[in-house]
């Protein structure tokens, strides 16, 4: 399925949409397509809303944001989100915040068919005061009070991966983020991959599969769809883009011109890649470092 078709079909105004990938495999191409298609009133969910959600907020797609840590990793602030939160520009943005672990546990609960998940870390902090979804639960064995978060079932989860087969069996190596948990938590799952590979490739290494095809609604093949983040073994993070965004995002007008140039004015990811400065892809492509062989054995 094309990205445009997948977003058109599964992402609706007002939806709760989780876009995951912890620094690795961030679904930039999918987020850009959501912006391009003009979705509104989304509740966006992401452990680390970084550049992608700063762009989505600057573009006016979001009504609310659930997150764990709000920053441009290794660079600084997310000024578009700060503008929305601090000054309501371009529109007010409701926020609901967790620790990384708390949001992970919300995914875990939902993926596991549990209405809540117990954890530790919020007692004595001000977080439960500003988030009524942080509650307490009593251990039936020790009487201890633990923290608890509720399940979170996004309407749609979008995750990037290195490869999948046509049935949606999806393989990821390197940082795994919350990809598996959010996929099992969500009602619909869109997987965006660097490559669609024959089923035999996936089935030659079933332990590498993070997401089973049976829970995947769309597989989109788009090389470089995680740029400017990275895809382990395919390309490195384009740190220049993170630094550039730090300048762009300080001003709503510049943000909008950037979105026009890099999103609204482009038809798709192919056009985006063509617009990258010459040599970008060569510069970001790492040398080989193969995983080494493993034998599953042929059992007949």
């Amino acid at each position: 399925m094309t990205m445009a078709a997948a977003i058109r079909r599964f992402v609706r105004d007002g939806h709760t949409v989780a876009l995951e990938g912890f620094t690795h495999l961030i679904p930039f191409a999918a987020g850009h397509e959501i912006i391009r298609q003009g979705r509104r009133d989304l509740t966006l969910v992401r452990l680390t809303p970084d550049l992608l959600m700063d762009q989505m907020v600057a573009a006016g797609t979001a009504r609310k944001l659930l997150f764990g840590w709000l920053g441009n990793p290794g660079v600084g602030s997310l000024h578009a989100i700060r503008r929305a939160v601090e000054r309501g520009v371009p529109a007010p943005l409701e926020i609901e915040e967790y620790s990384h672990f708390g949001l992970l546990c919300r995914y875990k609960a939902a993926a596991s068919g549990l209405p809540f998940f117990p954890l530790r870390g919020y007692r004595g902090t001000d977080l439960p005061r500003v988030n009524s979804r942080l509650r307490s639960v009593t251990c039936p064995f020790t009487g201890e009070q633990l923290d608890a978060v509720a399940d979170l079932h996004p309407d749609v989860a979008i995750v990037n991966a290195q490869r999948a087969d046509h049935e949606g069996n999806t393989q990821i190596w390197g940082l795994l983020g919350a990809q598996r948990e959010v996929a099992f938590a969500a009602r619909r799952v869109i997987v965006v991959v660097e490559e669609i590979v024959p089923g035999e490739v996936v089935r030659a290494d079933p332990n590498r599969t993070q997401i089973p095809g049976i829970i995947v609604d769309a597989v989109v093949e788009e090389p470089w769809s995680a740029h400017p983040s990275f895809a382990q073994g395919y390309y490195d993070r384009d740190n220049a883009a993170y630094l550039a965004w730090d300048r762009v995002t300080r001003d709503q007008g510049r943000c909008e011109r950037h979105l026009d140039a890099w999103i609204h004015g482009l038809s798709d990811r192919t056009a985006y890649c063509a617009r990258l400065p010459e040599g970008t892809r060569e510069r970001l492509t790492p040398g080989p470092r193969p995983a080494g062989p493993v034998d599953y054995g042929d059992y007949r």
């Binding site: 993926a111 596991s112 068919g113 087969d165 099992f184 079933p206 599969t209 089973p212 599953y296």
Partner: protein, 263 residues
């Protein structure tokens, strides 16, 4: 006997069970499957009307394509060529409790009229006459799968008025009692034995005899049930397998008749 003649021989009762079980599998179903008869039934259904059915083994394998007949749910032939292997905990958490399972197959040593199952003990728990294997994956399959189907050979000591131990909940005490317990899955829909096939009354949730296998009478079945058995308004004969289904089961799926037994 030649292969052609073998394919035409009538199904024995084990084969009748497998064919009946295969008919419970719908195309696209995610099926939580044990070894033996349920495995054969799903393999058969995939070759007939349900090519898109997915097999999930509690050992952690999704989308297995075994090159031989597996001898346990952990056979390495289930792993080589599978779509995914998950840690066992995640298989239970995500596929079962996370409500991604459409159909689960269960066996039992005892069953009652509401489809509750005992696989724990015969006799008293603390001084058992027979110590059975226990729960395994059954309580969770029964609790969470959208539909469950129970397969067991039938006799009066198995179809009991009162279980010695309730390992696994079916329809609990009947009516809406399962729902009131808070079960997330759908409960048992069929019981398949070597004598016939049962459903459950939509209101009372009591087991109802629906079909008898060829050559079996309702009276014969009543003699193998430990409570006054109710029957569906019209008890018919379990359909015999088509020649194609019979051939697939005998020639492709279990050619050594490991599970099928003597023809």
């Amino acid at each position: 006997m030649s292969s052609a003649a073998a394919a035409e021989a009538p199904a024995n009762r084990t084969e009748m069970m497998i064919h009946a079980a295969a008919r419970e599998v719908r195309d696209g179903d995610a099926v939580f499957v044990g070894i033996g008869l349920p495995n054969l039934a799903v393999q058969l259904a995939r070759r007939l009307h349900a090519p898109g059915a997915h097999l999930i083994y509690e050992s952690g394998v999704f989308g297995a394509r075994p090159a031989r007949l597996p001898i346990s749910i952990g056979d390495p032939c289930l792993v080589s060529g599978a779509a995914q292997v998950l840690p066992m905990a995640e298989t239970f958490l995500y596929f079962l409790q996370g409500r991604r399972t459409d159909l689960g197959f269960l066996g039992a040593a005892q069953i009652d009229r509401f489809g509750n199952l005992n696989t724990t003990v015969v006799g008293d728990y603390d001084a058992p006459r027979v110590r059975l294997p226990g729960a395994g994956g059954a309580p969770d399959i029964a609790w969470n799968a959208r539909r469950t189907v129970v397969i067991l050979r039938q006799d009066r000591r198995k179809f009991v008025e009162r279980l010695n131990f309730r390992t696994t909940v079916g329809w609990a005490e009947g009516g809406d009692s399962r729902e009131r317990l808070g079960a997330s899955g759908g409960g048992p829909v069929r019981v398949i034995t070597d004598l016939g096939v049962y459903g459950f009354d939509a209101a009372t949730r009591e087991m109802l005899l629906e079909t008898v296998h060829p050559g079996v009478t309702v009276e014969e079945i009543r003699a193998h049930v430990g409570w006054p058995l109710r029957t569906a308004p019209a008890v018919t004969t379990t359909p015999e397998p088509t020649p194609e289904a019979s051939r697939l089961l005998r020639e492709d799926i279990d050619p050594a008749r490991i599970y099928l037994g003597p023809a």
